[in-house]
């Protein structure tokens, strides 16, 4: 395990260099481009969060957009309250229009920034925990998890659209104030803001890596392979699955908060089926077995979407659809798997030239043994 730790560090460091140095320099610190990349990074963060539960624990969460959107709405509620300070009763404009008399209790705490920042992670986690306990205590796995989370996603979105009085309905929360962070008025086109998002991504990535490189990650991998066998070693499988699910939700909520800062509004489309499936696709394109790769997948696909729609305004989705099909057919393990097998192949050629004799000896030794076993 120690050697993997070292290579993890290399991957992490290279990713950090990409985010912190290469991208800002490549766009020569242009405000618009940094804002765009900040958006991609936030989306990469959600994709990474999904890899944590899908890639490691085999929990395909088609409702990953729920914690993301909750984080987004919570941040937006705070900013909306800031923007509504001059309104009668501090009531957000849309509430006035829908005849809400007083600020509802669940909006009250979000006057406070610390509460908002904590809730942006805690609320998605709490909801995820409820759902996780509900599912995993019942030993729900595979496609059933996918369908339950999908149905849950649709239901939550409907609630948000229906309760227009409290959530802004289909329009979501708009007309937000800029965030005041420790006296700093966050400008989402600034270099500092880009670095804020990048550092958040790197931090969440570090947390994710620590989790999957610890024994927890090992147990999760074992669960993905054979959950009942893990139980016979005394592990409470449901609890491990819940942990993965909740950590994933926490990071998604965090990413959602950043996303609102980038785009300056929260919308129920953040918890739409299309968006939620898109997260799965980013994760798959990057490679769900690696957190760094999944994050990159989120960044690359979004970048590509942006590029394609720029180059072929008519019919750019053609290329997008084709890309997904090709990735699944040619690179089932994503770009990560593709690169991995390419390098492994290259490595093998080199090795076989150097230590061919030894390899052959090993191979025949193993082969002989297998034949032995066959004839019992």
């Amino acid at each position: 395990m120690n050697r993997t730790f070292k290579t993890d560090c290399i991957g992490y460091a290279l990713f950090a260099i990409l985010l912190l140095v290469v991208i800002p320099w490549a766009v020569s610190f242009d405000g618009f481009a940094l804002n765009t990349y900040a958006r991609y990074l936030a989306l990469g963060m959600v994709a990474m969060a999904l890899a944590l539960s899908w890639g490691y624990a085999g929990i395909l969460n088609l409702g990953q957009a729920v914690p993301f959107a909750l984080g987004a709405y919570i941040m937006a509620m705070h900013l909306k309250l800031q923007a509504s300070a001059h309104m009668p009763g501090g009531l957000p404009d849309f509430m006035g229009w829908t005849n809400v008399e007083a600020l509802p209790w669940f909006w009250q705490p979000f006057h406070s920034l610390p509460v908002t920042l904590i809730a942006g992670i805690a609320v998605p986690v709490a909801l995820a925990a409820l759902l996780a306990v509900f599912m995993f205590r019942g030993r729900i796995t595979g496609v059933f998890v996918a369908i339950i989370t999908l149905a849950f996603l649709v239901a939550v979105q409907l609630v948000f659209i229906e309760e227009q009085r409290y959530t802004g309905g289909q329009n979501g929360l708009t007309g937000l104030a800029p965030l005041q962070l420790l006296g700093w008025r966050v400008d989402n086109y600034s270099t500092q803001f880009y670095y804020l998002v990048a550092v958040c991504l790197m931090t969440s990535l570090a947390i994710g890596l620590a989790l999957v490189r610890s024994k927890v990650g090992l147990v999760l991998k074992a669960i993905r392979e054979d959950a009942s066998r893990v139980r016979f070693f005394g592990y409470d499988v449901a609890r491990y699955e819940t942990l993965a699910f909740c950590t994933s939700a926490a990071i998604a909520g965090w990413a959602g908060m950043l996303y609102v800062l980038v785009l300056e509004f929260a919308s129920p489309t953040y918890m739409g089926v299309a968006f939620s499936l898109a997260i799965v696709i980013w994760c798959a394109v990057g490679g769900r077995e690696s957190l760094v790769a999944a994050a990159l997948g989120g960044i690359i696909v979004n970048l590509l979407e942006g590029r394609l729609s720029d180059m072929f305004v008519d019919g750019w989705t053609f290329f997008l659809g084709a890309l997904f099909i090709v990735v699944v057919l040619v690179a089932p393990r994503g770009l990560f798997g593709l690169v991995q097998s390419a390098v492994r192949h290259a490595g093998k050629t080199i090795r076989s030239e150097r230590g061919g004799a030894r390899a052959r000896w090993l191979a025949t030794g193993m082969g002989a043994r297998r034949i032995d076993n066959g004839g019992r």
């Binding site: 019942g138 369908i147 339950i148 999908l150 149905a151 989705t317 659809g321 997904f324 099909i325």
Partner: protein, 289 residues
């Protein structure tokens, strides 16, 4: 009482549409484990095929049905041969690939036919309503209910009584052994996929008199159809019928008591609970696992 009966009929009518969309999906998912997110697009293609046949050849949708079935089944066959057949051993990946197919098909229609909404005339012989006391039932919807049941019956016959069905069931049970007996599993899969797609196409053609035909019309349908299939239980025709009936009726009843949005939320939550406590579906195989 009339209100209740009217609403019960509305539920049946919703169920019949749901059933026709879900049936093809149930076969594709039940037989091959393929999670086909492009299913809604097959429905959409069916609707566009009906439009095409009506505007270019003047065929009414009922006359056009067999042709629509064949057209969409052909598309299904191409999708299966081109994409899906490589993915039988990794079912979760089919989610991504078929999503890609869905995007592709939508854009194809948009580029070739245009993004505007299309009009397809309903069959005039089924205009009008049947009035029984205070209950008003649209003739077309009555027709849909019976037609959907007929499709189920035909499918049941195909699966249980025909040679193709026997082969399909053999392949589902054990692909390797079936191949030893000379069944060409890949061909059976391809035909089953095409059949499922064709059913979706027919459903698409049949709903054209009720809805708006647009390139993105399928997206709304696929999620609901999937929920029905899973609630009904994998590979159980009876389960799919029962699940469609339940979801349709539940939607109608909740909608009568509250409103359509809350009705839908309630149905979704009920589905979540059903899957949680009965993951094998309404009518699971009673075999020890």
């Amino acid at each position: 009482m009339d209100a209740f009966l009217n609403q019960a009929f509305a539920g049946l009518s919703m169920a019949s549409i749901l059933l026709m969309v879900a049936l093809g999906l149930a076969i594709i998912y039940g037989a091959m484990g393929v999670i086909n997110l492009a299913h809604g697009e097959f429905v959409m293609l069916g609707a566009y095929s009906a439009w095409l046949l009506q505007t270019s050849l003047g065929l009414g949708i009922l006359v056009a049905l067999p042709i629509v079935f064949l057209m969409v089944a052909l598309v299904g066959l191409l999708v299966e041969r081109g994409v899906v057949r490589w993915l039988y051993h990794r079912p979760l990946d089919t989610i991504l690939a078929t999503w890609g197919v869905a995007i592709l098909l939508q854009q194809l229609v948009r580029s070739v036919i245009g993004s505007e909404s299309r009009y397809v005339a309903g069959p005039t012989i089924l205009d009008g309503n049947l009035v029984l006391g205070g209950v008003v039932m649209s003739n077309y919807r009555i027709f849909l209910i019976f037609f959907s049941l007929a499709v189920v019956a035909a499918t049941w016959f195909l699966l249980k009584r025909s040679e193709f069905g026997t082969k399909l069931r053999a392949v589902i049970q054990n692909k390797e052994i079936s191949e030893c007996y000379g069944i060409r599993a890949d061909r059976v899969y391809a035909l089953a996929f095409a059949y499922g797609a064709g059913l979706a196409g027919m459903a698409g053609a049949l709903i054209t008199p009720l809805v708006s035909v647009t390139p993105s019309m399928g997206t709304y349908l696929v999620v609901d159809a999937f929920l029905v299939v899973i609630v009904g239980g994998v590979g159980s025709l009876l389960g799919t019928v029962a699940a469609a009936g339940m979801v349709g009726e539940a939607t109608a009843m909740f909608s009568m008591l509250m409103n359509d949005t809350i009705g839908r939320i309630a149905v979704l939550l009920a589905i979540i609970f059903l899957i949680r406590f009965k993951p094998m579906g309404l009518f699971p195989d009673k075999v020890r696992r």
